[in-house]
Amino acid sequence: MQEPALRSRDTRIPLGPVDPAIIHRARAINADALRAIDGLLDQISDSGRR
């Protein structure tokens, strides 16, 4: 019979309050939001043409 720790190589260590994968997802969506908002600000506040 296989040891529990060897059953799955990508078993996560349950350490820290929030899973790093979720933090990375949050950072990715925030980066998308920043790009969209920067584009919007360029369109609205900059008098220079693209």
Binding site: L15, G16, I22, A26, N30, A36, R49
Partner: protein, 157 residues
């Protein structure tokens, strides 16, 4: 120079509605960003996930509204990418006040939400580093004596 006649005023009303909608969506994004920060602070995984869903939804709808605004702009001046800041150079009269007010509001809300998003990026990076330190502490039995990276790297998006 174009005349600010009836049809143009009607199109300006559509443009104002589009901007007001963008402003509401920026407000939704703002709330999602604050929720995300609080959830990270509490270590609330489902709260962070919920904030990601809310932010994604607000962002998708915002992009849809911006595409709609581009079609309205094409109808108004023939250029879907016309910067809103320069719109007055196309017309022979002052632009309608509701449009100017909506444009100001979108600008200030967008600047405000951008600041909050930057703050969250720093908070999230801090959470990753904290977890990394805890992991090292667990594995080595002591906290690292020097920071892993210089503080200048914190601003990285």
């Amino acid at each position: 120079m174009m005349e600010l006649d009836g049809p143009a005023l009607g199109t300006f009303a559509d443009l104002t509605l589009a901007l007001e909608r963008e402003c509401r969506l920026i407000g939704e994004l703002y709330r999602a960003i604050l929720q995300q920060r609080e959830a990270v602070d509490r270590g609330d995984v489902s709260g962070v996930e919920s904030s990601i869903r809310l932010a994604s939804r607000a962002l998708l709808t915002l992009q849809e509204t911006q595409r709609h605004r581009a079609t309205v702009l094409r109808r108004l001046v023939g250029d879907p990418a016309q910067p809103l800041a320069d719109l007055d150079t196309h017309f022979d009269a002052a632009l309608p006040e509701p449009f100017l007010a909506a444009r100001r509001l979108v600008q200030s809300s967008a600047a405000e939400v951008a600041e909050e998003i930057w703050r969250n990026q720093e908070v999230l990076l801090g959470a990753l580093r904290e977890r990394d330190m805890l992991l090292r502490e667990l594995l080595t039995g002591s906290r690292p004596t020097a920071p892993a990276e210089p503080p200048a790297a914190i601003a990285e998006g």
